[in-house]
């Protein structure tokens, strides 16, 4: 899957998996809206006796869907955001480690160059 490589390189595998999940959530939410809209509500359960349709029609209607989707969206956005921040921090640290490693190498090189000079001056 070469077309996903730039995305994977840019965001990392974890972020891509979370993005895919976010897409699945959104798609399923859209699907579910249609399902509820056309549902005959035959799968409704309750521990209380069934009430006439007009009494619970409102509670099963579209009015509650935005709340449901808001919860699912916020939860997934939060998880995605957290994992994204973690992977960004990981990359930053990787860069810090590389910079530190380079600085140490340069320092070691300078020290190695300074040693023979010092020994010739002493001699």
């Amino acid at each position: 899957m070469n077309f996903t490589r730039p995305l994977r390189n840019r965001l990392g595998v974890r972020s891509v998996v979370f993005l895919a999940l976010l897409a699945v959530v959104t798609t399923m939410s859209a699907e579910a809206t249609e399902t509820y809209a056309s549902s005959d509500q035959s799968d409704v359960v309750s521990d209380t006796p069934m009430t006439p349709p007009e009494e619970h029609e409102d509670s099963l209607g579209d009015s509650e869907l935005p709340w449901l989707f808001a919860v699912f969206f916020i939860t997934w956005a939060a998880f995605f955001g957290y994992v994204f921040v973690m992977s960004r921090r990981q990359r930053e640290m990787q860069r810090e480690i590389e910079a530190l490693s380079l600085a140490l190498q340069e320092r070691e090189q300078r020290e190695a160059e300074a040693k023979p000079k010092a020994s010739t001056t002493d001699g």
């Binding site: 999940l21 399923m28 799968d43 069934m50 509670s59 919860v71 939860t75 957290y82 973690m86 020290e111």
Partner: protein
């Protein structure tokens, strides 16, 4: 002297590399956790949206329950982890316990925030209000403040063992809140539904259907696997952060 410093630095880098690259087995288990949680999430979404029946009294918004309850369970679990790791740190003084406490506290903030947000939205959709100062909601808000307080103390306290000790004490004291939250509906009259999960659940029949139990169980397993993945990642990141801090201090 500079040569010795360089050797210390190189030693530090080796430690860092070992810690950040992680053992292949640990890396493999992380990937498994990620893909397992992704697969379980797809299953949970299918169950929540298409398979589980709609609860008659609460309507469609009751489906928030399949996210809200597992989030609450993991928020509480975080508090237990923070307290356990804090005790272990105070006894042994080993950094790995402090790192675990820090990682779980950070996850605790995330989960406690989501408990509050999902609960508030559910209440608004179902009962018509956003917030009420009843015992369950208030103690959960206190839990959130404890986690945030823990992280603030860790940010402002001195680096090293002193800051870790302050954090451990706060983490330990915060654990008192977890059983209070769980028992709030038993001890006080609250607007929150009665206990229908956990060891003291009495109102289990109110859930009504075996499918509801099954969906809740799978959702709880799913979030627990996701939590485990995030914890392993955050713990490893925290270890690297600690090692990097030590390295900077040594080099400075």
């Amino acid at each position: 002297m500079p040569g010795a410093l360089i050797r210390v630095g190189q030693w530090g880098l080796i430690v860092l590399a070992v810690r950040s690259a992680a053992h292949p087995l640990a890396r493999l288990s992380r990937e498994w956790l990620l893909f397992a949680s992704a697969a379980l999430m797809a299953l949970t979404l299918y169950l929540v949206y298409f398979w589980v029946p709609t609860e008659l009294n609460l309507g469609i918004s009751q489906r928030i329950f399949y996210f809200h309850v597992p989030l609450a369970w993991l928020g509480m679990l975080s508090m237990v982890f923070v307290a356990g790791a804090s005790v272990a740190y105070l006894i042994t003084g080993k950094d790995k316990w402090d790192n675990l406490a820090y990682a779980t506290a950070e996850l605790g903030v995330l989960f406690a925030s989501l408990i509050l947000i999902t609960g508030v939205i559910w209440a608004r959709g179902d009962l018509g209000w956003w917030w009420t100062w009843d015992a369950k909601l208030t103690t959960t808000l206190i839990l959130w403040f404890i986690y945030v307080g823990y992280l603030m103390i860790r940010s402002y306290a001195p680096k090293g063992s002193q800051g870790a000790r302050y954090g451990a004490v706060v983490g330990l004291m915060g654990a008192i809140d977890a059983p209070i939250i769980y028992m709030a509906t038993v001890w006080w009259n609250t607007a929150h539904p009665e206990l229908n999960t956990g060891p003291l659940a009495e109102d289990v029949d109110a859930l009504g259907s075996g499918r509801i139990y099954a969906t809740l169980l799978i959702s709880a397993v799913n979030f627990t696997v996701l939590y485990a993945y995030m914890l392993v990642e955050r713990y490893s990141l925290r270890q690297t952060e600690t090692a990097l801090d030590e390295l900077y201090q040594t080099a400075a």
